[in-house]
Symmetry: C2
Subunit: 340 residues, 2 copies
């Protein structure tokens, strides 16, 4: 069985929405967690609710954590990693993060010489708010995570054991599931289900904001516009950073969107058929309708056999890239749930 102590001591860098929620949830589950933040207000607010907080990164690393989780804004990862590197020089601590893109974060920690101890992580949860005041243990409780490994052929020998540590944390005290994939597959999928939706929502809002019929349109707006623009109402600077950091995957996905929209425009302007456009995703519609009625795919237990190996990691990546998730990670077995 997973135990809260399986993950060892966890050090969280950054007490914003996600870092604060992560620290709260781990503390609530009895895990050994310590955190810090560059803002004195965040530190005192976190101490006021009973969390263990250090004044700076040096003091955080002096607690000898087994796992350090970067929960700082994407633009701050490079500088934070550079500050962290000498502090971790005598330690074997694993480094992870909670960023919404993974390839650029691996590159940033790599620039600080920390790539060999890095395992990427991204909880699929969030709100339109930010800061420790908005943090809440419930935000991450049971969340689906993506946990990312290096590209094939580039992994450090220690990666399987570090991955196991992160998976024990996610599926243990955090109560979540983990899709183990490469950075590229994560960033490609995140572009499709998160970054492109944010860009399209922004375009919808901008189009109405700049239209001569703006006030009438806003007055008539109902469900489809409200849903379609909800994420555009959140902090636009944060959205800009997220989209920009994943430019390598967002740009081609938007190019495809443009091509698709040009097909629609062409049909509308020539009285052509839109049948194929509107029925292209019928299989997904049926899958979703079916998924609501089912409780989940079948589980399969994979034997670990002593120590986690690169072969086991490759197997997990292959299964998760096809939609499976890890639901439990013990010393002797890893449990995988097939996609619904």
């Amino acid at each position: 069985m997973s135990r809260a102590t399986d993950a060892g001591r966890v050090a969280v860098v950054g007490l914003g929405l996600v870092g604060g929620s992560l620290t709260r949830l781990l503390a609530a589950r009895g895990a050994d967690v310590v955190a810090t933040d560059t803002h004195p207000g965040a530190r005192s607010d976190a101490r006021a609710v009973g969390l263990r907080v250090t004044d700076d990164l040096a003091a955080l690393c002096a607690t000898e954590p087994d796992l350090v989780v970067l929960a700082v804004p994407l633009r701050a990862v490079r500088a934070t990693a550079a500050e962290l590197a000498p502090l971790l020089a005598g330690s074997d601590a694993t480094l992870s993060d909670v960023g919404s893109v993974k390839g650029p974060v691996r590159a940033a920690v790599g620039a600080a010489g920390l790539a060999d101890r890095y395992v990427g992580a991204h909880p699929m949860a969030g709100t339109e708010h930010s800061g420790f005041a908005a943090s809440d243990a419930a935000l991450l409780d049971g969340a689906p995570w993506a946990v990312t490994v290096a590209a094939p052929g580039t992994a450090a020998p220690g990666e399987p054991a570090r991955l196991a540590r992160v998976l024990r944390l996610v599926t243990g005290p955090l109560g979540g599931t983990a899709a183990v994939v490469t950075d590229d597959r994560h960033d490609e999928a995140a572009a499709l289900v998160s970054h492109v939706p944010h860009v399209l929502a922004t375009q919808l809002l901008n189009a109405v904001a700049g239209a001569p019929v703006r006030d009438l349109a806003l007055g008539l707006a109902a469900g489809s516009f409200r849903d379609g623009t909800r994420v555009a109402l959140t902090d636009p600077a944060r959205t800009e950073a997220m989209v920009t950091e994943n430019a390598a995957w967002v740009a081609p996905a938007l190019r495809k969107a443009v091509r698709d929209l040009e097909v629609v425009i062409g049909a509308l302007e020539t009285n052509g058929s839109l049948h194929d456009v509107f029925h292209a995703a019928d299989e997904v519609r049926e899958l979703r309708a079916g998924a609501r009625a089912r409780s989940g795919g079948p589980d399969e237990d994979l034997p670990v056999g002593g120590a986690w190996t690169a072969g086991l990691v490759d197997d997990l990546v292959a299964r998760c890239t096809a939609g499976a998730v890890v639901v439990r990670a013990d010393d002797d077995v890893v449990r995988v749930r097939a996609p619904r």
Copy 2:
């Protein structure tokens, strides 16, 4: 004060989601309402809940309604209007509808010689379901409506009185508000806040459905994808019809979307700034944040002065095109609420 009987006898053609909900709400409010449908099952279901239903259009018109509301699918409007025209030959009944586009409906009823008695109407409410079984008086109770008049210079002399009748219905027993605008302004605004959002939601769903990382992406999908694709999960044939009927306004709006997306792609590919894109709608963000805190704009009573005139209609159109709505329409006064 508005009275339920102000609207006279209302005949509803079509007992689907909207027609059924309209008939139920009017009956619940004690209004004089009769309905029909070409499907015997819809007629018997409606009778079973106590609604007054005729077997066909001829019997419906024989009840001598003051207002006939077409609540049939867009593709059926032209044929229904042609069947209705001879049945209304000896009557002064006003003709209205509930369609999601207005210019094409006016053209269709005009082809049957009914344009002079037509006032367009579109309730801004709906669900992903359809049919009488899904109808519910609550769906339309208090809904915002668009009510449309002919283009400047083309209105029949009787239009002001017919508009007054429709506004009494909407703001009286239906408890709603009405934006009085021309067909073109309605269709332009509806393209922006309804039809383009439906196309973009469909594109998002199609892109994921056709991606090599489909199963991973669906597994990682969280709020932004769920919200961004919700309306794409509804009946795609209905969406296709709605978008196609409003091609004249949807196509140019999509062309603008393509241009906007190309700006984003260009910035992503050249490491350019996206600041302006992500902050273009800041004023609307602030308006929306403010609107949530306020209860509504100030009301103004416009005197009718005996009978509704073309000048009063022009005044209402000017105000509503700028975001105002009619909240009450009596014989002597029409009350207009300024935009928030």
